[in-house]
Structure formats: C-alpha cells, structure tokens
C-alpha cells in the first residue's frame, strides 16, 4: 500500500511543477473516492439490481432472470399481507413520532431558555440520549422480559397496585404490542431529536429573543412567534429523517415478537425480509415491495418538502 501511495504522490508533484502552480482541487477526488466507490458498490448497484429483480420472477435457488413485466406491481397492491404491513408501519410510526417531537420540542425549549437556566443540562442531555446507545437487541429483550406473561415485572407491579386483577398478556394484544413497539421507538429516539432541535434553537440569533423580551413578550409568545417559525428547516429535517427511519423499522418489532400477535407489528421491512429469506424465498416479491417502499418515502418526502418550503418563503416575504 505504501509503495503505491508514494507513486501517486510523486506523480502529483511532477504535474504540479509542470503546471507551475499548486492545484489542490484534485485532492478532492482522492478524498471522496472511497465514499463514491462504496456508494456505487453497496448502494447504487443493489438499488438498480432490486429494481431489475422487481420485473422478474426470481425465487428460491433460481439464478436465471425471467422478465414478467409489471405483473409483480399489480400483484403487490392487491396483496393483503403487504397492505397490512404498510398499515402497521404507519400506525406504529405515527404513535411514536407525535409524542417524540412534542416532548423533544418541550425539552429543547426548557434547556435552551436563558431565563430558566436549568442546572445539570449536560447530565440530562446524556441521560436522554442514553437509550439510543443501547443496541436494539438488548432493548428488545429487556422489554420482552418486562412485559412477559404471566409473571413479568410490569404485570406484577400493576397487580400490586390493583390496576389489574389478573395478569395481562401484552404480547397477545394487538394494541398492547403496537404501543410497546411505538414506545420503544419513542424512548430510543426522543433524545436524539431533542439534541438536534436544541442545536437548531441555539442557532437562532439571540438578539431576536432579547428584543422580544424587552418588548415584553412572554416565554410562550417567544416560543410560538420566534422559535417555532425559525425552527422550521430543522423540524423538516427531523420529520423526514424520522419518516425514512420509521418506514424502515425492523429490529425492534422483529426481535420483540417477530410480528406476533397475528402480524400486528409486522412492518414493511419485516415483510420484505421474510419474503426474501424465509419460505420459498420470493426475491421478486421482496424486490417489488422494496421499490414500492422507496417510491412511497420519496413521494411523501417531496410533498413535505414542497409544503414546508412554501411556508418558509411566505414567512420571509411577510
């Protein structure tokens, strides 16, 4: 490796001399090359290949691609398992995102408010972020044990407190399991959202807040009229990254119950995984579902983007 590198360096020196002045722009290619190569090999190529697969009937140990046209796309919109997985994904994402952004906003406001000046902010930030560091597998096992039936800790506490008369089987209740998955997602990600939003608030020019305060605005008015409108780009970022992540939700529901009860937490990516790697290994179904998922995320991101940007411009014009 050293030798080859040296050769590269020598060549650069020679050409620089010939051209008469130092050109640093070519180093740019050098530095982005690893990313570009990794991207082409491990992301672009698989995406294109998946796209191609979605027009074939490749399954099992078959290696030959037979093209079947758009048949797979027609079939998948009628596939009840696919539709159910899509619904599950949306339900779980919405019930995790609404409290997540609300609580993150609230916390960010408190922790950045110069008038309140909370003590130990660093400690709290670390604590909020902590769940995100723990691996999904550990979290899934932790929650499975906590809510286990009939003698899990949660059941025992609820019975001691006389909330429940009999143990409740959380993982046989569709709503219960969905709520648990949504809660885990919320709990793991609100800290990260909180930090991003805090950074956004700190990025707002403090003189705006000072001016408002001198004019006699209340804390809530400042938040509503100054912080929120100026936070819009950050909120947009959080919304879209969370949407993309939420649509690809896999590890927690997979490790928690593997989709049970009655497929209530079988998400789209779990459906794709199961189609591709279990059963008859229907690669074509998995590929079609992946492309549909990609299109859904793309469309919704575009719509949100358009919508939010229009508002931004209007705000500026005013």
């Amino acid at each position: 490796m050293n030798q080859e590198n040296n050769v590269g360096v020598l060549r650069i020196k020679k050409t620089s001399k010939r051209m008469g002045k130092a050109k640093y722009s070519k180093y740019g290619y050098f530095f982005v090359a690893p990313f570009i190569i990794a991207f082409i090999l491990f992301q672009l190529y698989p995406i294109i290949y998946t796209f191609v697969l979605s027009f074939t009937d490749l399954a099992g140990w078959e290696t030959k691609l037979d093209f079947v046209g758009v048949k797979n796309y027609v079939a998948i919109v009628k596939n009840s398992h696919f539709i159910r997985a899509l619904q599950n994904t949306w339900i779980i994402w919405v019930i995790n995102f609404v409290p997540q952004i609300a609580i993150a906003l609230m916390l960010a406001k408190w922790f950045t408010d110069t008038r309140i000046k909370l003590k130990g902010a660093g400690l709290f930030k670390t604590t909020f972020y902590m769940p995100n560091i723990i691996t999904a597998a550990s979290v899934a096992i932790l929650f499975y044990t906590l809510f286990s039936y009939p003698v899990g800790p949660v059941n025992q506490i609820l019975m001691k407190l006389n909330v429940l008369a009999e143990p409740f089987d959380f993982f046989r209740s569709k709503t219960g399991t969905r709520l648990i998955v949504a809660f885990i997602q919320f709990w793991m990600w609100y800290g990260s959202t909180f930090i991003v939003i805090s950074a956004g608030i700190l990025g707002i020019n403090p003189s705006l807040f000072e001016a408002a305060r001198i004019d006699g605005a209340s804390s809530w008015q400042i938040f509503k009229k100054i912080t929120l409108p100026l936070l819009r780009p950050i909120t947009l970022y959080v919304l879209i990254t969370s949407l993309v992540g939420g649509m690809q939700m896999f590890d927690i529901p997979f490790l928690l119950t593997n989709g049970a009860p009655d497929f209530a937490v079988e998400t789209l990516t779990m459906y794709i995984y199961k189609q591709a790697f279990t059963g008859n290994r229907n690669f074509y179904v998995a590929a079609t579902a992946s492309i549909v998922l990609l299109v859904i995320v793309l469309l919704i991101s575009l719509v949100i983007f358009k919508f939010m940007n229009r508002h931004n411009k209007e705000g500026v014009n005013k």
Binding site: I12, K26, Y29, A33, I37, P150, R172, D262, K274, T278
Partner: protein
C-alpha cells in the same frame, strides 16, 4: 490530463484499499488460496488414480463443517480428532443458530463461495436440501449403510425423489412424555411409568388428567407447559405432510390440535410458558409443570441441563419418569450431508462414515452421552445396560428402542419449519379465543400462500 490523473489516483486508492481489505478480513484464511494451489499441485497426480466410485482426493487444506447444535462439534473435538490425530488437514466447525441457519446456508450454497464441505440438516428442513442439487449422492462416494443396521426412516428421510441417498445420521429421535414422579403421585395417585401411561394413553385421557392435576393442585401445577409442547406430537401423527404433490394440505390432525388446544387453554390447563422461553426451562426445576413432551435428545440436552433450581439449588434429578404418552411421535433429528462441488470429498466421507457408521465410536458415544442411535446393532448390544439415574433407574434406552422402529417420517417436507411457525401463531390465536376456527384456518392458509406462492392451493 487532469482527468487521467484523477482516474489514476482513484485506481491506486481502490487497489490499496482492496489490498488492505483482503488482509484485514481474512486473517484466518490468510494463506488459503496459496495453500489451495499448493494442495492441488502436489496431489494432482494422485487424483487421477482414484477409482470413479470412491471419493475424490482432498484438494483443500481445511474441512469446513456447518451445524446448528454443538453435538457435532463435541463429536469431532472429543472423539474424531482423538481417534485420528494425524488427519493432515484442519476441521473448522461453524455453529449457526437454527433460526438463522437456512438464511446463511442458502446464499453460500447458491454461489458456492466459502460454502461448507459438510453441513448438518434438521428434520424441519432436511427435505429441502435433499431434493436439491447441492447435496451429493453418498452411495457414489462409498458410504453404504446396511439396510438392517440403520433405521429405515433415518435413511428414507434423506433419500431423494430419484432414490439417491443424500445424507446420513447417527441418531434416531423417537419422542416420549417425561413426567415428575412426585407430582404424579400427589395429583394422579400413581408414579410408576406403567400406571401413569395407563392414565395418559390417549388425548381424551390426557385432557381429563390435565383437569385433575389443575383442580387438585389448586392451579399451582399444570400437566403441560404450553400448546407448543403438543404441536410436535400432533403434527408427527398426521397422515399427510403440509405439502403433498406440490399441493398444500391441512391434515385433520392439525384441526384436532386446534380443538384440544382451545379446550386446554380456555380452561387454564397449561402453564402459559411457550417452548424455549425462560419460564419453560424454569418449570423443569420447580413444581409448576408436571410433564414435557420431549424426544431422545430432550432428556440429555434439555431436561438434565435445567433440572437444578436457580433459587433453591435443589435438583429434580431422579424424580422423573418416562412414558410414551398419548401418541407415538418423533421430533427433530440431525443429518449430515456432503456439498456437491466440495474439494474435500475424502475427508467429508471419512467424517460421515465415522459419525454415522463406526461401531466403536457409536458405542462409546452412546455410553457417554446417552444419545439414542440409528444404528440398530449397536443399539441392540447396549440397550440393556442402561439404568438412568435421572429417571430413577428407568432404562430409557430400551424404551426408545421399542418406539424407534414405528417412526414414519414420510410426512416431512422441506417447508416444514416456516409452515409450522405460521401454524403455531394461529394455534395460539385460536386457543386464546382471539378468533374463530374458520378465520384461524383461513389466516393460516393465507400466510402459507404468501410465503409459498409456488404451491397449489
């Protein structure tokens, strides 16, 4: 000029990266390719002389074995390597958990790269590989089990549609019902195997006994842990497998299981602890569950290893009894196969011959581990010498020897693992009263159809 230069730079970068990558990711197989070449160069001439019917000479330096349990690892490390100290090649054993086994195995078989030379297969998916082109016909390699020596069902399971033998196994896995003697005495009034068998000889009686145990213990003790315990028993007694002539079939026995499952569950006659969960294992050392449906391997690898109570330190060893239970069945079993295209044919054949057919090894292994063998003449010679302390002196081996010849494994299909899981979900949903029977069966069928659209329905 600039463009050419930057392309050059990129290329150097790629090559240097690739060089690093190769070094980093393959520390164990560092000299592998070199060895391969050297191996084939030196042995190339010998290969030509080997007879066409026997295995080809080893061209690699390492025999790679994939398995999903540690049994084979133990056999190789503790027996095979001890008896064969001068193998001349390494054996690498890769243990992959059962639930990821096929996902890992299928891609490497398809591509042939870093694929195992010998791989273990389990009853729930053995048929899938036996009927594929990835497994070698063992008879052409000189592995010849004698019909009267190895149990017929063990051979039938790994015989493909055209009659070639694609695998071998050392074990047979008839299933039994293990019960706690003290609890049986307390709640059923009897504790000796013959008497308990008399009370549990079919599933109507089983249901009555489950009620008695529950009533007399005030709900403290249940006859079985979960419905999953019953699933293997019922499915093994089906007349048709899930797939017959590429058509999906729901055997009446499966519906029967739904019915008895609903009865047991709605009356609270199980301990609500699914198989392989913490509380399922825990009740082997406390008094919550009276019995378990387990096959031969279950005694040694499941019951014995979980008999000591983690809280009190007391063991239930010696308090167990073994009977056939309401219905004969079999559960699991491990077969070894040789991959088509392996470079280590001779080594692979030698290993399989040793594990499945070497009488000295089998005798020693069975005596040490208590595992039940498929090799009939070895079983005959050792079966009367057993007195299992764990079962209060009962001779489990002789009992298994009685059960084994009646096993019919023709209902196994390559899709069993996935379909069984889909069925278990509907069994739980129906028996817990979440849906009615028609819906459960329809959902089951829809689930199978989604996973296996290639079958007829």
């Amino acid at each position: 000029m600039k463009k050419i230069l930057s392309i050059l730079m990129v290329l150097t970068m790629v090559f240097s990266l690739a060089a690093c990558g190769a070094k980093d990711t393959e520390p164990s197989g560092g000299g592998k390719t070199g060895n391969d070449k050297a191996g084939s160069d030196t042995t190339g001439k010998d290969t030509e002389t080997s007879e066409p019917s026997g295995p080809a000479e080893n061209k690699g330096k390492k025999l790679v074995v994939w398995t999903f349990t540690d049994e084979i690892e133990k056999m190789i490390n503790e027996y095979y390597l001890r008896h064969n100290p001068d193998l001349g090649y390494e054996i690498e054993i890769v243990v992959i958990p059962n639930d990821q086994y096929q996902q890992k195995l299928d891609p490497v078989l398809g591509s042939g790269k870093s694929a195992p030379d010998v791989f273990a297969l389990e009853a729930a998916f053995v048929k899938k590989y036996v009927n594929s082109d990835f497994t070698k016909d063992l008879k052409t390699l000189g592995i010849a089990p004698k019909a009267d020596e190895t149990l017929q069902y063990v051979l039938d399971t790994v015989t493909d549609e055209s009659g070639s033998l694609k695998g071998m196994s050392w074990q047979a896995t008839p299933g039994a019902f293990f019960y706690r003697r003290s609890l049986a005495k307390k709640y059923l009034g009897v504790s000796e195997p013959e008497e308990v068998q008399g009370l549990l000889s079919d599933f109507d009686q089983f249901y009555e006994a489950a009620k008695t145990v529950n009533d007399k213990s005030g709900g403290e003790t249940k006859l079985v842990s979960s419905l999953g315990d019953l699933q293997n028993v019922f499915l093994a007694s089906r007349e048709n497998g899930w797939v017959v002539d590429n058509k999906f079939v729901i055997d009446p026995k499966a519906e029967e299981l739904l019915e008895i499952g609903k009865k047991l569950e709605s009356e609270g006659l199980t301990n609500q602890a699914e198989q392989w969960t913490e509380s399922w294992f825990a009740s082997m050392s406390n008094d919550q569950v009276m019995g378990y449906f387990l096959p031969t391997w279950g005694l040694h690898y499941v019951l014995k290893s979980n008999a000591v109570n983690a809280n009190t330190g007391e063991s239930t060893s010696g308090d167990w009894g073994m009977i056939q239970g309401p219905s004969p069945y079999f559960w699991g079993g491990t077969w070894l196969t040789v991959r088509e295209g392996t470079k280590m044919e001779k080594a692979a054949v030698d290993l399989i011959n040793y594990i499945a057919l070497n009488k000295d090894f089998l005798t020693e292994y069975a005596k040490n581990s208590g595992d039940f063998l498929a090799h009939q003449s070895v079983v005959e010679s050792i079966k009367d010498s057993y007195s299992e302390e764990f079962l209060a002196g009962q001779n489990h081996y002789a009992k298994f020897a009685e059960m084994a010849p009646s096993i019919d494994a023709s209902i196994l299909t390559g899709s069993d693992l996935d379909i069984n899981n889909l069925f278990a979900e509907q069994l739980t949903a129906y028996s817990k009263g979440e849906k009615d029977k028609e819906t459960a069966l329809a959902d089951f069928k829809a689930g199978v159809q989604s996973a296996f659209p290639n079958l007829d329905y």
